[in-house]
Assembly symmetry: C2
Homo-oligomer: 532 residues x 2
Amino acid sequence: MSSLITELAEYQVKRKELISRDRSLRLDVLDQDNLSTLEIQADHLIRSIRATEAESVWSADYPSIPHPFPGMEFLTGRSIIVQTEIYKILCKMPKGALLHAHLDATVNASFLYDLGLQEPSMHVQVPKAINAQTLNAVLPKFKALPAELHNNEALSLTSPSYVPDSWLSLTQAREQFDSELGGPDGFDQWVLGCLTINPAEAYGTHNTVTKIWQKFVSTFRVADGLIQYTPIFTKYIREFIRSSIEDGILYVEPRVNFWIKTMVNADGVENVTHRELLMIFESILEETIVDLKARGREDEFVGAKIIYTTIRFLEPDELDWYFEDCIALKKEFPHLIAGFDLVGDENVLYPLSHYTEKLLNFRHMQKDAGVDIPFILHAGETLGDGSKADMNLYDAILLGTKRIGHGFSLVKHPELMNICKEKNIALEVCPISNEILRLTSSMPMHPLPILLNHGIPVALCSDDPSVFGNMGLSFDFFQVLVSSDVTGLIQLGAMAKDSIKHSMLESDQKAVALEKWHKQWQKFLEYVVSRA
Amino acid sequence: MSSLITELAEYQVKRKELISRDRSLRLDVLDQDNLSTLEIQADHLIRSIRATEAESVWSADYPSIPHPFPGMEFLTGRSIIVQTEIYKILCKMPKGALLHAHLDATVNASFLYDLGLQEPSMHVQVPKAINAQTLNAVLPKFKALPAELHNNEALSLTSPSYVPDSWLSLTQAREQFDSELGGPDGFDQWVLGCLTINPAEAYGTHNTVTKIWQKFVSTFRVADGLIQYTPIFTKYIREFIRSSIEDGILYVEPRVNFWIKTMVNADGVENVTHRELLMIFESILEETIVDLKARGREDEFVGAKIIYTTIRFLEPDELDWYFEDCIALKKEFPHLIAGFDLVGDENVLYPLSHYTEKLLNFRHMQKDAGVDIPFILHAGETLGDGSKADMNLYDAILLGTKRIGHGFSLVKHPELMNICKEKNIALEVCPISNEILRLTSSMPMHPLPILLNHGIPVALCSDDPSVFGNMGLSFDFFQVLVSSDVTGLIQLGAMAKDSIKHSMLESDQKAVALEKWHKQWQKFLEYVVSRA
């Protein structure tokens, strides 16, 4: 029996070593010799609250939520999440950089809609009259019109005699919305429903990747009519930056869709160029920096850059215009243009391989122009195994992408995983986006732990928070934290810190950002521990 | 421009090399130099039918199936699957060895129920009278009774005056079932519903791992009363072997639950020991071999071994009885006992670490007895990340498991993946089981492609086909094939062949089995190509 005791002791030693070897590539392990007592305390405290809430908040009965569990479907679980201590704490966590968000889906949908209601020039049309039958199938199109085209007198969108595609002022359309369809409140609900995805759609009627993408894409068509109007655009950018800072985000690197060549100006004329768009963007940034400094909050934000994007439905030759546009912008705003990407549903649009020649040539064009605009490409946002969307990963990496947008299917590719590790190519992982767009059924099924344990660099991102309701990064950090027993606050902190390293900030800017982040992190840890 | 053409050509070469390096650990790639023209032809043909059916069968509208797609939820998609050419072809494919199936869930539920109906000794009881309200909550308990306890005259299970837990003969219970609840047909439906999982349960009312496991476990409690009666058990084993051979399975290695210490004999007395159980098992095997030989079909089957299992709710000390029992059986039936395992829901029952000392001691007990009973342990059948079920993987491997039952969470463990590759520890992957038990929402989300591309040995298995409806291995091979663009017939064949290598057959038996498999494979390829 004494030999068994020895054997058991040896077994326990081997077990500890094995676990430790298995986890040795994780960020929280790599950092472990530099941890402060405060970090360790805070991590323990969060683990303990998480365990308590798993047994309390997540084990309670909710009349409208049949299967609550930590990391559950976000749209159904959101009302529970916001009640948790963990969520409230994470709202205060310094998140580092937001590296994957589509600008036209970053501001709360109600906020954007309210901006529209405040603009007398904002009009709306529908392709056919709305009634109880068509309500859920008809999408509004918004546009700011010049004064001479303003129309407060067209028939209500709900009048059987409404002339398809005729413009009516937004406020009038709202006022005159059929009372049987809820009147103005019904109108609000309808518009907001067209700007967002609801749980019945994500988990019921549109419960496949293909179907939910159709709804998803339609929300952009609706929102863009509101956003692409300079008076709104200006306020929109301001709100994006403000709400990001509010959530503890230090730096943002949004993807801006330049596919639309001109925006509508304050007079309702569609003539605002990309150059002017960047000037607005820059002015808001400057205003923000000045304002923060005035209020002694300069440690909370370091700025923003833009990833220039257009869409994968373009024919290769059509890219030339965008390449030239992008190069011209980069020359004039070298500090603002961070990179180039092609966006859209990878499962149905052209694969990167369709554009190889053009994209290689873009590098030559840049060289000739004396600029450097790195690729920061979407790839592998798919359930496919060897499908064109999955194959995009090979091309993104061969084209020298600096990071990978999503890379959801990367875990299927041992060699590409090695390359990402060796070359420090970070994946912009968007947990809630992936779940709502049906790549994963809930957070515990998400491949993130595979990436973290294999030492693949990862930055957590929100993707399209206006559509999904995951404003800021707190919700995404929350979902990651509660669906793992391994990941704790130390890992979240390490990812936040690393997101700054993976940003396209210049190295001196990075150093400044990291210093600011460390200050915020220290404050945050003190706050966490003070709750005990 | 000519430099761009050169650059593009170089890019294409690099791309090809990268893909090839990335896939170099796959079985179909490792085997590629030994492929016959016939194999290549057959693989192409299957890929072409798969592509056609993705656009036809899987893109059609079905009144009761809102979201059809290849690899969809099995219980909903089954009626589409059986219509496909791919499925019909795969039914004829030689599958090699079935290495993970729980014996008491291997025979079609209707077949088992019919066996019960044919036995006059078979009785049924319920804990309370059945009515429209209780129908879905009450489970039948079956038991064969000795003649003196036979009871055809107790009150109907649906009588309000039924005395709880009183036994009534099965046929009488069926005859007397309330006509308002469907009479005998309603009784049949109720019993079959208690033996199986239906789509409304898996994807609706029980749509979490925890909840569906409760339903899952209850099906065993119902089935065991029917199976644990030697006249039925004998026919049950015969049907298991017959239906496996019918599906192209050459060898089976079922897990037998020895937790129940005695079975009921033909006279209704509960005194049949594990030793007698094995004698029945062996006699059916011998009968099958003789019968196949007589019909010139001896190439279709080589035999069976049993993995001795008991359940993870036992206290460590309670294992001693089973260890001694297992060793005694191994001594008497060395050719039948293939290994030892502990089963049950890893997420809620004791982890392997709770039994470490006992399991280490079991090795000593074996040594003293001069036998070798390898561990073939369930581990990592979970969505957990660092949960006790996930941690079981460390213990299974440290305890020297020969294969891993499921290993669903292995992909989160880089070091354990390396060990499985180096030591050739195969994962018994059960795609349909994982999906119905809610570890994956549908097949495209399953981690199998990660395992295959990382070169982890895998054997496809059915787990509990009587509960899930995935009889044989054709359905599991189907789900794997249609949800990938990379995996083709060559990969399926290589997995089938490898399953024999990963079995616990002696090396000379393996050689015989492989030879038989190759003959069948050749015939199958000819059949596939002849369809073109």
